[in-house]
């Protein structure tokens, strides 16, 4: 008598999961399978695909441009993530204080995040141009330099500029999250510490930082994954130049696929980077499960 309802009850989770599994299969698993399959083929746009085994991976590992893009990606992620998190946290601490004009500053702080990407990049390119850029004009007029600085044509400065742009564009989101975290700290703990004579530094070290530690961990991991896949800002700012100095995985793979029309090699690049992004995603998930 009770068996039909039992079957229904046991099926319910699967039924509820079915749409997600279907969506995930169509939009994640299948394309991923195609990508992995493509990475073992020589495939140019408009030409038939030829199975070449591991040759694409071998080509990539011997390619100085690809090796450089690995190191560029590491520098880009490390630089952008660490500077952005520290800057965002520092700003959140300031904006959490009772300062005059706080709502205005909080609003202004969001501007870089709200500015559409293309105008933002073009404005940066215009500001930094050694030919007609306002920054070089200013530096020359203030006699801080005797020669216009080529921010995007020098390999080190170009890397720094790409990192600076990424930090500038996305810090508001992180500041907002940190602000929310800071506002969740019970006021009475802070007040009790003050009564006990705790300095600002001690409050930061022993109350604030432990409270937002989890936020730091989650934002760090998310930020690393997002920055690793960042394409638009790097492409629009430098297109990976000068001479591969700012090429990341994403821009180099795009170049291979859409400028050199070599889909097999581009797929192999993504397959190489896949374990890193999957690893980071697993770490985030495990951390969140553990915390919950």
């Amino acid at each position: 008598m009770n068996s039909p309802p039992r079957i229904k009850a046991s099926m319910l989770p699967y039924l509820l999961l079915a749409p997600t599994i279907l969506f995930f299969s169509i939009f994640v698993v299948y394309p991923l399978g195609v990508l992995i399959d493509l990475s073992f083929h020589q495939k140019y746009v408009g030409s038939p695909s030829i199975f070449v085994g591991l040759r694409n991976f071998q080509t990539l590992l011997q390619d100085t441009g690809f090796v450089q893009s690995i190191s560029n990606t590491a520098i880009y992620v490390a630089g952008a993530v660490s500077i952005r998190l520290l800057f965002a946290f520092g700003l959140a601490l300031i904006l959490n204080q009772k300062i005059r004009g706080r709502p205005l500053f909080r609003g202004l702080m969001l501007l870089p995040w709200l500015t559409p990407m293309v105008p933002a990049v073009l404005t940066w390119r215009w500001i930094l141009s050694p030919d007609y850029g306002i920054l070089n004009r200013l530096l020359l007029q203030l006699h801080l330099t005797t020669y216009p600085i080529s921010f995007l044509a020098d390999p080190i400065l170009a890397k720094a500029t790409v990192i600076a742009f990424n930090v500038w564009k996305y810090f508001p989101f992180y500041t907002l999250v940190f602000l929310a975290g800071l506002q969740a700290i019970p006021v009475d703990i802070s007040e009790a510490a003050e009564i006990d004579g705790a300095s600002k530094w001690m409050k930061l070290r022993h109350i604030t930082i432990p409270y937002v530690r989890n936020l730091f961990a989650i934002l760090f991991a998310l930020s690393a994954v997002w920055t690793m896949g960042e394409f638009v800002s790097v492409w629009l700012l430098t297109r990976g130049g000068p001479s591969y100095a700012t090429h990341t995985f994403a821009t180099l793979a795009f170049e291979q696929a859409f400028l050199n029309y070599n889909l097999g090699l581009a797929a192999a690049m993504f397959v190489i980077v896949l374990p890193i992004t999957v690893g980071l995603t697993i770490l985030i998930t495990q951390y969140l499960v553990k915390e919950s």
Partner: protein, 458 residues
């Protein structure tokens, strides 16, 4: 009684049957008569063309193209879907669509190399009958060569021909004491040293040289390479000739202007497709530049009338080869083989090549493009001095006209070399990473040799 009753009943029955039959016949006749006449078979839906077009630049052009499309639709009864893409995006859209099998019927491409690659992969229709129908004898000979693939098939109609022009600012040269542009590369180097004043915000040279320029850098590279007497490949299309003294001298020329004399703006290594125009047009930042297409002159004509008389165009300076060269390219039409309406697609291209329409359209884009018909170069509108300095080079027999990818012109291999920016990569190796020209050339040569090997094997 029973019998008689039975007889009446039979009579009645017969009557009923007759009445029923008559009623059925009458009803059937009425039904048949009341039916509407049979419908003629449905007419086939109008034929449809999809045309992808590199976004027009000029207002008049934007007005004329839809007008002509409407006229074509009215004349043929066909439907035409006209889709515009910025030219830097169209290449990627086309390639992606080809891979997905969703390509348009016709493309109007700013970059011929995409058409060349697709032709060598067997994706494009022969346009020989289209070119035969328009006035073939009035087409410049170099355009007829440009239309052909290495198999001799005409797959591309070079509708908007363009030169790779050498521009200079007359006022800035005059300030430095020069009344005319440099005639040789040595004069160019000397003049550049004298004009250069980066502390004052002026670089003498602004050639697009980085791998980010989308075709501008390889064209500049070839111009200088030819001046030194070099070339990419022999006329047989098989013998790679880039590993030469002339290429070494070309790389040393770029090394000199970027690293030794510092007369070339370093920003040019990361310029996009439009930045050299911006640098030359906006302020007094660049005295000399090179640019495929006459965008600089046309923009200044339309937006900065004061500057317009100060913009000069001269032949590219001679090198040790002792000759002037002008590199030519074109924007144009190709038709995909998998179109469902090949004849209609050809009619569309022919419709746009009609001389009356063509003249109106191409004159709206002068001097960005020049006419494909020789007879139109005599138009009075072209005699405006800044424009005529460009156009007259086409008629000057002392200037040798060459197609990009000399000595074969566009082929699949040349297109990939342009697309992969091999020439610009060599310059960047020298300018950014401090490689010697020899080392940069070795790397570039291997890449070019491999590309040729791949295409020749295909």
């Amino acid at each position: 009684m029973i019998k008689s009753r039975h007889a009446i009943t039979r009579l009645q029955g017969t009557l009923v049957v007759v009445i029923v039959i008559i009623a059925a016949i009458a009803g059937g006749a009425y039904y048949w008569a009341s039916q509407p006449p049979p419908k003629p078979p449905p007419s086939p839906p109008p034929k449809k063309l999809t045309v992808w077009w590199s976004t027009p630049v000029f207002a008049k052009e934007k007005e004329l193209i839809p007008k002509y499309i409407d006229q074509f639709k009215a004349a043929t009864g066909a439907e035409v879907e006209w889709v515009q893409f910025p030219h830097v995006e169209l290449d990627q859209k086309i390639m992606t669509a080809v891979e997905a099998g969703t390509n348009p019927d016709i493309m109007f491409q700013a970059h011929q190399h995409v058409c060349t690659i697709l032709h060598e992969k067997g994706k494009l229709l022969s346009l020989t009958d289209v070119i035969d129908k328009i006035d073939r004898n009035d087409l410049f000979p170099f355009l007829q060569q440009m239309a052909k693939g290495r198999d001799g098939v005409e797959y591309f109609l070079p509708y908007y021909p363009q030169g790779n022009w050498f521009h200079y600012r007359k006022d800035l040269l005059a300030k430095a004491g020069y009344s005319k542009p440099p005639e040789t590369l040595d004069q160019l180097l000397e003049m550049a040293r004298k004009i250069n004043n980066p502390e004052g915000g002026l670089y003498a040279l602004g050639f697009p040289l980085g791998s980010t320029t989308i075709n501008d850098a390889p064209m500049t590279f070839e111009q200088i390479l030819w001046a030194y007497g070099g070339q990419l490949v022999a006329a047989d299309g098989k013998t790679v000739m880039i590993n030469s003294t002339a290429t070494m001298q070309t790389l040393e020329f770029f090394e000199r202007i970027i690293k030794i004399d510092k007369t070339q703006t370093p920003a040019a290594l990361t310029w996009g497709a439009y930045d050299n125009n911006a640098a030359f047009q906006q302020l007094e930042n660049i005295a000399i530049t090179g640019n495929p297409g006459g965008t600089i002159v046309s923009w200044i004509r339309d937006n900065n009338p004061k500057l317009y008389p100060n913009v000069g165009t001269a032949p590219w300076p001679k090198g040790p080869s002792g000759k002037n060269y002008l590199l030519l390219g074109a924007m144009g039409f190709s038709i995909f083989k998998n179109t469902k309406n090949p004849e209609l697609a050809k009619d569309f291209v022919k419709f746009f090549c009609d001389k009356t329409r063509y003249k109106e359209l191409v004159m709206a884009t002068i001097p960005y493009n020049f006419p494909m018909y020789k007879s139109m170069l005599t138009e009075p509108a072209l005699k405006d001095p800044p424009m005529w300095e460009m156009i007259s080079q086409l008629l000057d027999e002392n200037i040798e006209k060459r197609l990009w990818g000399y000595a074969t012109g566009p082929t699949g291999a040349v297109s990939e070399i342009y697309s992969a920016e091999i020439f610009a990569r060599m310059i960047e190796r020298v300018a950014v990473w401090g490689w010697t020209p020899r080392r940069a050339l070795n790397e570039g040569f291997i890449a070019i040799r491999d590309i040729y090997a791949k295409w020749l094997a295909a």
